[in-house]
Symmetry: C2
Subunit: 406 residues, 2 copies
């Protein structure tokens, strides 16, 4: 008998009919002799509806209250699924963040899990119940309800799996796994059977959108085997697991792109110690997460600094950059929304030379100009004009031979 | 500076606009220097929507989960009102049943409050916050969410007022107070300025519907002055308070009627000790609350037994009565849905003779036949044919001089 955590996202629990289908799947897993804890998201659209109500009340709604509001979405789904399970003769109990107890910090709307006291959950499972846990939510030291931010139910599921030492964490979603590229952009994309946590981290953060990045961090930290799969079929999906030697053979695991960033360039900063810190400290204070940072080689004691930020933060980031630029005597600030970032990701890059230059050549062959480059051990990212982004993904995907079975 | 509890029902918080109006009223009370705890219901229609979802999942949904589901309605309102208050510059925090802590028994869907640990609430108020408490909900010894049944937010408000020793508990509703009769039925009905807990209990249980009966019991037990008033005007409403000598002058405080009962008659029961208990024990076990019970004078060692039950329970009650009738050898069971109960209520009845006979005469003058009679110290109820119920209310109301100012 295994201990399995199953997580179902918003589209999998979109209406009573789908919730019943989820209940059948959970019941089938339990009928195979497994002990099951389920983590659910809000019914699709529900979180937006709730936050919309909150925003209708005030221009700057209290974040503590937005969390109390949004947490009701998962509470509703967990109760409905417990009801559906009981209707199939499966004993079930819903558990909310404060009942499990999922303890978080007090960063409302984007809290982080500090600890899980799984004694209540373990008791529920030992009594033969399916535990239906409301994802996305926790409770802080004051007893206030917190939420983990968008996609937080994945993190709940993996953290729960780690806390109860589950044999696997199954993430059910509306796609059947992680692909080598976005199939909508790249028809030759194929499903990846196994991928390492490290590669998944880079793919997720770059926009693969099947699995929330923080959940992968937690899975890696605690070695939780994660199985991303479709809630609409029984076909195996993609296993996200610890690295082993077999991964080295694959040079590039996937190609991904992101059109939701804005590139900001600060021209002719004085090239002095501490200048870069002065630029990024106020951005961090404003909670703007900076993605790529590229500083060009300096000349005549000045340097150009380019960075990318989520487009939703671009306005604020540009204002901050302009303020700092004035203070430190930089020449000026420009920004460009019309960009895309394409990236190749693969553990094999660590032991194979020339991957980056091959990427640049493949893009150049299509006349695609590279505006900025950033590399890490297992990733190379290029900023290009937005209009080329689909073309770039296809060219890189097929150029690195991802379309064929490995 | 007073400590005031204000409770707003579903129609008062039906949409963001109304919630903002509630926030303004709370802010105004606070601006007068009072400390305020607010109790809110779910937005009107929301509880039905949630329970409808639950019932769409299963024929007999788990009651524990129905409570977790329904409790989200008040959670949403409390968060929205806290947001609206903060937007007006009033510091506010929502508090849920498990946060206040409102401890109840485990009778899901109809739990009773056992205790309130108001330390968290007092701390919130001392810090200068308005506490916005989700009504209708609590938590049992296991940490499961419970709800108090329909109208439970009134009970939450009064129990909170008792726990923090508030100076008053204001119940805001869509009517401007308690009337001597239903104004829709009786045009000469007038608002009552002051009424005793005892009278209010009889009026509420008989269908006055302004104030949940259990909340009046709690108010009476702890001596909480309750002010029932309109959320749409500043006109004073009705104070529900402890009895004093001035009440004795008023013989009949109000006339009320109930069309939602069914009369069940068991004919020719053996007139033996224990027979009546055998009839009502299984009804109690089935959680059917029996209202009037009338046993006629026995003849030839048999007796007829008549009782009324809520119409929603009539089918089940009749089945149980028929089963018991067979077991004990009664002649048969009849039931009648086409009835109404009209009642007169007043503390003054205790010291004035002839009130009941005057009621019977007033009904007889209109040709209204009385099918059953039940009396208590401060109430006389008659069962009549349903078609007469509006006429009976008007005749009694004006016959006892209620249309004029006292």
């Amino acid at each position: 008998m295994s201990l399995i955590v199953q997580k179902f996202g918003g589209t999998s629990v979109a209406n009573p009919e789908r919730i019943r289908a989820v209940a059948k799947r959970v019941a089938a897993t339990r009928a195979e002799g497994h002990s099951v804890a389920v983590v659910v998201s809000a019914m699709s659209g529900e979180t937006n509806r709730l936050l919309g109500l909150g925003r209708a009340m005030a221009g700057r709604p209290l974040e503590r209250e937005l969390d109390a509001l949004a947490a009701t979405g998962e509470q509703v789904t967990s109760a409905l699924l417990a009801i559906a399970l009981a209707d199939l003769g499966v004993p079930a109990r819903s558990l909310l963040g404060h009942q499990v107890r999922i303890l978080t910090d007090s960063a409302f709307t984007k809290a982080r899990i500090k600890a899980i006291d799984a004694s209540q959950l373990s008791k529920t499972l030992e009594q033969g119940h399916v535990a239906v846990i409301a994802g996305f939510q926790g409770i802080d030291d004051d007893g206030s309800i917190t939420t983990l931010g968008r996609g937080g139910s994945d993190t709940t599921a993996v953290a729960i799996a780690a806390a109860i030492k589950a044999d696997a964490c199954e993430i059910y979603t509306d796609v059947d796994g992680v692909y080598t590229a976005d199939p909508n952009v790249c028809p030759s994309a194929r499903k990846i059977d196994r991928i390492s946590y490290e590669e998944m981290l880079e793919l997720a953060s770059l926009g693969a959108k099947v699995l929330q990045i923080r959940s992968v961090e937690v899975a890696m930290k605690y070695g939780v085997p994660v199985h991303v799969r479709s809630s609409f079929s029984d076909v195996p999906g993609t296993w996200v697991v610890g690295e082993d030697k077999s991964f080295e053979a694959v040079i590039v695991a996937g190609v991904t792109s992101d059109k939701n960033e804005t590139k900001i360039t600060v021209r002719q900063l004085p090239d002095e110690p501490g200048i870069v810190a002065r630029m990024f400290e106020p951005l961090a204070a404003a909670n703007i997460s900076v993605d790529m940072i590229i500083q060009n080689v300096s000349a005549d004691r000045t340097t150009d600094l380019t960075f990318t930020v989520p487009r939703t933060d671009a306005q604020k980031a540009r204002e901050i950059a302009e303020q700092v630029a004035r203070e430190i005597g930089a020449k000026g600030v420009t920004s460009d929304d019309d960009i895309a970032k394409v990236s190749i990701v693969g553990l094999g890059m660590r032991s194979h030379a020339g991957i980056a230059s091959r990427m640049f050549r493949l893009l150049a062959n299509e006349g695609i100009n590279i505006e900025a480059i950033s590399t890490s051990e297992i990733k190379v990212s290029c900023v290009i004009a937005a209009k080329y982004h689909e073309l770039a993904v296809r060219v890189l995907h097929d150029g690195f031979g991802l379309g064929k079975a490995p």
